[in-house]
């Protein structure tokens, strides 16, 4: 998906940046402390309940879910762990002896057991995600137990008070999860934290709401159903997860299809091979540098991939496919034709608009082109000049040439962001 590329290209030691290391260290210490304390005082733990919830968490970790934007979540594990952290009674018997550290130990072991099959199958262990979830559960457990001890909500008679406290705590847990994920992601894709937090919240809230409500329901249902609730509850949770999986799946296929079909211009000899993909990658990086949010970045990516689609209507390819070399009127006609094609789909009107306005000069045109179009214009010009080359001098010269044209052709802010992105790429290659 949009942001996966840079992560995959990194070698493993680079991926272990300071933020991740901190997260890993914190979770490691938590696990050690919780295991040690639980081992010393096993009488605090109801073994049957611990085994049932641990198994549930492991199952949830096994059934991880890919979310749009290359994210990974384990909603079933999260719901189980939060429910366990807030568990009050099982079949009418109070379980408040469950200590916060005991909860963390069970959740950690459950997660690790659930991750083992992923490792065995050669997939990534998803350590960062697990640590994030563990910290979120820790927040919930550490706040909830003292609150229970100081108020009477352990008795469920005041169920409305318990409900309010749980709702608040579930929100805290969700926020912890989201903030940590946003921090890590901002670091990974070099986005601003505020933008990345907003993106994270937008993607995570529907699932977060379902997980939180499920956790609360599980706490209350345990009062009557006991541990049988885990068996009954897995049904709706699984169905919800399948719905999300299908949604994420079709989004991924969609993007893949547009990426592939955008290459028809290359196979047809209209543009240089790899052009549309390079332009889209550069455009997305520039857009992110400028603080664009994820939905806008997706539109930008689609528009950049298809920005040359209008050339298909030309009788013969432009030599070298360089749209910078054709007259302004021709460029505008090509952009218009491309936008018409995209508008036919009926669902990509914003993308069509970006493609249509790409031929307008970034300065002094009335109306002003949208920022996405300015980015595509600059990225396209840059790629026409540089191509697949990674030569430092050629790149520098191309950026200089774009800079010289910022009085009319290109937007100064966009060119600066582009220069930043390109410069970073060159240093990371060294």
């Amino acid at each position: 998906m949009t942001t996966r590329q840079p992560i995959e290209n990194w070698s493993s030691w680079q991926a272990l940046d300071s933020g991740r290391l901190l997260l890993l260290a914190a979770s490691g210490m938590l696990i050690v402390a919780s295991l040690a304390s639980t081992a010393v005082s096993t009488h605090h733990l109801n073994v049957r309940v611990a085994l049932a919830f641990g198994g549930f968490i492991a199952l949830g970790e096994l059934l991880r879910l890919a979310l749009p934007g290359g994210r990974e979540a384990a909603p079933i594990a999260m719901a189980g762990a939060m429910a366990y952290a807030m568990l009050l009674t099982v079949s009418g018997q109070p379980t408040t002896a469950e200590s916060s550290l005991g909860v963390i130990a069970v959740a950690a072991i459950g997660m690790i057991v659930g991750a083992l099959p992923h490792i065995a199958a050669g997939r990534s262990a998803g350590v960062t995600g697990m640590c994030t979830r563990l910290i979120a559960v820790t927040c919930v457990a550490f706040i909830f137990r003292p609150v229970v001890a100081h108020t009477g909500i352990g008795q469920l008679r005041q169920w409305w008070l318990a409900l309010a406290v749980m709702a608040l705590l579930v929100l805290v847990g969700w926020l912890a999860d989201t903030v940590i994920s946003a921090l890590i992601r901002a670091d990974d894709v070099r986005a601003r934290f505020s933008v990345s937090l907003w993106d994270e919240m937008r993607v995570q809230w529907p699932l977060g709401a379902a997980v939180g409500a499920s956790a609360i329901i599980m706490v209350f249902a345990a009062e009557i159903m006991g541990l049988w609730e885990l068996v009954v509850f897995i049904g709706p949770l699984l169905v919800t997860q399948v719905a999300f999986r299908r949604y994420a799946g079709i989004r991924a296929t969609y993007l893949q299809t547009v990426r592939s079909l955008a290459r028809v211009t290359e196979v047809g000899g209209y543009v240089e091979s790899g052009h549309s993909r390079r332009v889209s990658r550069l455009a997305v990086a520039v857009g992110r540098e400028l603080g664009m949010a994820e939905p806008d970045l997706l539109d930008l990516e689609y528009a950049a991939l298809m920005h040359d689609i209008g050339q298909l209507s030309l009788r013969d390819p432009i030599p070298g496919g360089a749209t910078v070399l054709v007259s302004a009127a021709d460029a505008e006609r090509i952009a218009q034709l491309g936008a018409d094609v995209i508008r036919q789909a009926g669902v990509l009107d914003k993308v069509a608009e970006l493609v249509r306005c790409q031929s307008w000069p970034s300065r002094g045109h009335d109306p002003e082109p949208p920022i996405g179009s300015k980015i595509i214009r600059a990225a396209n010009a840059f790629d026409d000049l540089v191509g697949a080359s990674t030569d430092r001098e050629r790149t520098g010269a191309a950026v200089e040439r774009l800079r010289l044209d910022t009085s009319r052709e290109f937007d100064a802010g966009v060119v600066e962001a582009l220069s930043e992105v390109v410069g970073r790429r060159l240093t990371s290659r060294l």
């Binding site: 169920w159 049988w228 709706p236 919800t240 719905a243 893949q256 592939s260 036919q344 789909a345």
Partner: protein, 453 residues
């Protein structure tokens, strides 16, 4: 409009529902009938829950159908109120805020009432205790509840399933479940959400009506995700069609060809009983089969005279070019094979590999028939469109040499059943338009190739 049999069917279901609700509950065999204020309070909360779910269904990708998680309200009714209560909860579907015809409303209400009653009867028959559950009921209540859930789903889908069958040929009028790939998934989804019915009943013991409200949260999130999926799926298909049309702008006469080949391939697939996921992949392959034509120089496509061997080779390469473009799309490998081999012939004289008989993948054999038929029944620069009968005759002539005879038979049967929409004859091309002089798909006018030196 509805056929007479369908009307009769609806009337029977409605009468059945009325009879079930009207019977004296003590006669109906439910031993514990709770009445009084509490009964009505529970009933009305569940009815409200049902209405909220039922009034905001998720549109599914397939036309005319929608899905809602209302089954959880009915099943909560089964546990809390018994068969009659469950029927009364389901009957409230008559008041759904969705825009429906009167016949649709009546049928839906009756159908939900009958299903609820049937589920309740199953629950009671297996000694499930009606009323707010207590810890002592577990795990004994699980088996009767599971039976009730299964009966409910079967009854519900069975009653709906019958409508389009009785109404054959009249077009879908009533709310119907998608008859395509999503049916098994829908059944499982309904079963999964049915489990929430038991959870609602259990939570009722702790927090009363708030139970229904809190359960709405996961229900609506699931609904949201399903809706997003349907939306994305539609967007995906539309984008694909638009991009294929863009490819076709290169050739004035072949407009709409991809879409018609996709449709024809789908007709054949349904006729030979292909599984829904494969049918979907095949239709995408049909849509994309000629994408590689973009890699053929315009001068070759436009040439009027005989082609040189090099030019013919360029044309023969187009399935490979197509494969090159779509290879990275993550759909079935079968679809890729279909695109690559759609110009193979059963006698082994096709291209690019010269496969013969069943060496040729099934998808490719299907696409080849739909492709040739659409080419023949469309207007070309060098001839007018042929009629459907002439096209069928040509397919018959080519069966066994160019085409797989079984596929040809299936296509002809599908044509009889579903008909074929001939493309509109194109207006005279203007000078600016690109016009191909020869069609590589047309079996009646094979490409002429001159021997080069």
């Amino acid at each position: 409009m509805l056929s007479r049999v369908a009307w009769l069917y609806i009337a029977v279901v409605v009468l059945l529902a009325v009879a079930l609700i009207g019977t004296d509950p003590h006669v109906a065999g439910s031993p514990q009938v709770v009445t009084g204020v509490r009964y009505w309070a529970e009933l009305n909360v569940l009815r409200l829950l049902f209405l909220i779910c039922d009034s905001t269904p998720t549109p599914l990708a397939a036309r005319q159908s929608a899905w809602s998680p209302s089954s959880s309200a009915t099943l909560a009714g089964v546990v809390l109120l018994g068969p009659l209560g469950a029927a009364l909860v389901g009957a409230v579907s008559v008041l759904s805020f969705r825009r429906q015809r009167l016949s649709e409303r009546l049928f839906n209400g009756a159908m939900h009432a009958v299903s609820g009653f049937a589920a309740g009867t199953a629950f009671v028959a297996l000694h499930g205790r009606v009323g707010v559950p207590s810890p002592a009921d577990f795990p004994a209540v699980l088996l009767p509840f599971a039976a009730a859930a299964v009966v409910h789903v079967v009854c519900n889908h069975g009653l709906i399933w019958a409508v389009p069958r009785l109404n054959r040929g009249r077009g879908p009028v009533l709310q119907q479940v998608a008859l395509e790939s999503s049916v098994p998934l829908l059944l499982i989804s309904d079963l999964g959400f049915a489990a929430l019915g038991l959870i609602i009943a259990v939570l009722w013991a702790v927090m009363g009506w708030v139970a229904a409200a809190i359960v709405l949260v996961p229900l609506f999130v699931a609904r949201w995700a399903m809706g997003q999926f349907a939306e994305q799926q539609k967007a995906y298909a539309a984008t694909m069609a638009a991009l294929c049309q863009a490819v076709e702008t290169k050739d004035f006469y072949t407009r709409g060809h991809s879409e018609r080949v996709s449709k024809g391939s789908g007709m054949i697939a349904r006729q030979i009983g292909m599984r829904p996921e494969r049918t979907e992949a095949l239709m995408f392959a049909g849509m994309l089969h000629d994408v590689g034509k973009l890699g053929v120089p315009t001068t070759v496509l436009q040439k009027t005279g005989a082609l040189t061997e090099e030019e013919y080779a360029a044309i023969q390469l187009h399935p490979m070019r197509g494969l090159e473009i779509v290879r990275e799309i993550g759909f079935l490998n079968e679809a890729l094979a279909g695109i690559m081999h759609h110009h193979e012939r059963i006698d082994g004289k096709g291209y690019p590999m010269g496969f013969a008989g069943h060496e040729i993948p099934e998808f490719a054999r299907v696409i080849a028939v739909a492709d040739a038929f659409d080419s023949m029944t469309s207007t070309r620069s060098y001839r007018q469109a042929r009629s459907i009968d002439e096209g069928v005759g040509e397919l018959r002539r080519g069966a066994g040499s160019q085409f797989d005879p079984l596929i040809v038979d299936a296509f002809i049967a599908a044509l009889d059943r579903e008909g074929w929409q001939l493309p509109d004859p194109p207006p005279a091309p203007s000078e600016l338009q690109i016009v191909t002089a020869q069609d590589h798909d047309d079996p009646t006018a094979p490409l002429r190739v001159v021997e080069s030196l």
